[in-house]
């Protein structure tokens, strides 16, 4: 029987799932995901995780609960650093330990450490180790790694074409599907940047359909994932003495810095999660950016486990209306 590896569909899922899936399939392992977030996943996460944890980590607990009994092992790598510069939020660093010691009936966890500050080959070696654990030879694992890297490149270029991760993953899974469907379906006349962590922006359940709502309101969306990494990299420290330490926060701040400077969006939204530590700093810095560019309206939206779709839609609608009025006014000056 094939080994089943469980991948919780949240946190790094939105950034690396295509890679992981390709890698595991290539070494002959079946991948099981926990699927889209739903009410019962959220509820069990809220119940299982520490009350003081942030919503995304609670969700992660929920996703783990969802698949723990369906798989032979769980894949929760300890991803520390992948670009030799920034690390992931400390909660990512302790993720495998938190799950192992606080959830009951947990299958074995593959918690290989990934830290590219330890040399250029460290990521590759980490995957060889995973391969070894699952009984794949060095050769098979190397081949799988290369293949997975290619897929990740394809995935990232799809993101830069304007797809969001969910669409891109769908497209990779069945390439004959209809790409860009919604892009032609609705007409949009405003363009917003939505900043925040991939696992908050693209999880339509926890953010109560923000992206769809915006589309319905006639707003097209650009996110940090749609921007070429080089463009982000040249933002350096965004005028601060130091960069933000955390990969996703650093990316979001750089995107904010770039977008406000380019000025080709009509509004900027920052989606922050209740109880998120890094966001308390990130949000303030984005706010300072926004203060310097008052011509582009800015709003912070906080999501938590109780956020309701209706309330969120009302807030979005009001904001969009305001932006639209402003735009019309500046378009026909008297």
């Amino acid at each position: 029987m094939v080994v089943k590896v469980g991948i919780p569909s949240t946190l790094l899922y939105y950034t690396y799932y295509p890679f992981w899936k390709a890698f595991f399939n290539e070494i002959g392992v079946q991948v099981v995901t926990s699927g889209k977030t739903n009410k019962s996943i959220l509820d069990s996460g809220v119940k299982e995780a520490l009350a003081d944890a942030c919503v995304p980590v609670k969700l992660f607990f929920g996703h783990v609960m969802e698949i723990r009994e369906k798989v032979d092992c769980l894949f929760i790598p300890r991803v520390v650093c992948l670009n030799r510069k920034t690390v992931f939020c400390p909660k990512f660093l302790g993720l495998p330990d938190m799950i192992r010691y606080s959830v009951n009936n947990i299958p074995p966890i593959i918690d290989v450490r990934m830290d590219t500050r330890q040399g250029p080959m460290s990521l590759f070696r980490a995957y060889l180790k995973i391969g070894e654990y699952l009984g794949a030879g060095k050769l098979t694992a190397s081949y799988a790694y290369c293949k997975a890297s290619n897929i990740l490149n394809t995935y990232n270029s799809l993101l830069r074409k304007g797809l969001n991760p969910v669409e891109a993953i769908d497209y990779l899974e069945n390439p004959n599907g209809k790409l860009f469907e919604h892009h032609v379906k609705t007409k949009t006349n405003l363009r917003f940047a939505v900043l925040g962590y991939p696992y908050a922006i693209y999880d339509s359940f926890i953010n109560v359909n923000i992206l769809d709502s915006l589309r319905k309101l006639g707003v097209s969306v650009v996110t940090a994932e749609n921007i070429h990494p080089l463009l982000l990299a040249v933002q350096k420290n965004c005028g601060l003495p130091k960069r933000l330490f955390w990969t996703f926060s650093d990316m979001a701040l750089k995107a904010a810095h770039l977008i406000f400077r380019q000025g080709n969006v009509d509004g900027v939204l920052h989606l922050t999660a209740f109880g998120c530590g890094p966001d308390s700093i990130l949000n303030k810095f984005i706010e300072f950016e926004a203060k310097q560019h008052r011509n582009i309206p800015f709003m912070t939206l906080m999501i938590d486990e109780h956020t309701g779709e209706a309330g969120m839609f009302t807030r979005l609608e009001a904001f969009v209306d305001m932006v639209r009025r402003r735009k019309e006014m500046s378009a026909c000056p008297r």
Binding site: L50, L93, G94, Y101, P241, W246, F274, C276, N283, F288
Partner: protein, 367 residues
Amino acid sequence: MPKVTFPRMGESWRAFKILLEDLGNEVVVPPRPSKRTLDLGVRHSPEFACFPLKILMGTYLEAIEMGADTIVTTGGVGPCRAGEYAMLHHKIIKDLGHDLKMIVFEPPRLYPVNFIKNIYALNKARVSIKGIIDHIKRGWRKLQALDNAEKLSHIIRPRENNSGTTTRVYRKVLDWIDQANTTQQIIEAEASALEALHNVPHEPARPVLKVGIVGEIYVLLEPASNLEIEETLGDLGVEVERSMFLTGWTRDNTWSETTHCLTVKEAAAPYLPELVGGHGRDSIGNTILYAKRGFDGIIQLAPFTCIPEIVARTILPRVSKEYEIPILTFFLDEQTGKTGMTTRLEAFTDLMRRKKNIHAARISLTG
């Protein structure tokens, strides 16, 4: 002349003050955090900023009102938020319209130039390098004296005959140490401070409960942020040992024998092998070491939304079960009230006492 201030953590300001003065700076002593400090800090910090950031924000603003125009503080390289504090504080303070200079000490091993530049900027009196080293040594000695007095107060307080005497004497001896200027004077002041504490009428042989305190460094070291938990516990007849002091971690001989020379890191490794920033890993390691030394309970102090302590807190219940040691966690913020805390501490003390009695009864039955 610039007026310098710095973050306040417990009594350490007494040492930083003389150090900065020796280098020729005018010092604005950061005031002890009060209700007003918290209000100011909360008003001008992001909602989910960690508690230390908020208190420091308030402290800085109060020091600025008192005339400070330069802040000396530490940086850091992560992975936790403390390393970004200085940057955020500076931006917020500038945004409020204050012109302020921030001198941030990064870890000298990684940024030697930054270290030298900062020392140079602070060295108004143009003290020689040897002089600077002497001053630092003296400041350090003062810190040690302050820490030693505090440690002893933790031992005497639960055994005192008249409640409140230790605290009174402790406050008094702090001033003695404060007024000592030369190394010789500091040593003498320390000796008489320890003697005065020993002379507090107390019953050395009284059996007391022993509790280890673990958690995030700021709320551990600044009594105003933890609502003087150590005093409260002492008054409840509990001896506390805190896992962290500025001058180093507690290291007495008794434990190296009983714990097989485990370091905190090694002790934590089976549960949390990764440095998660702040003191999350230490909280777990120290809990295990205290358990092995036969402590009756552990109290974890964590700022609200503190990332590393949330990680630690998620894992600690398992440690508690496997080492059979009760653990109580406080997530502290501006809304934490002293009465609520005292009630929880009383209940916790009862629990430990019952557990200890049952244990003792079992030994006398079987033995």
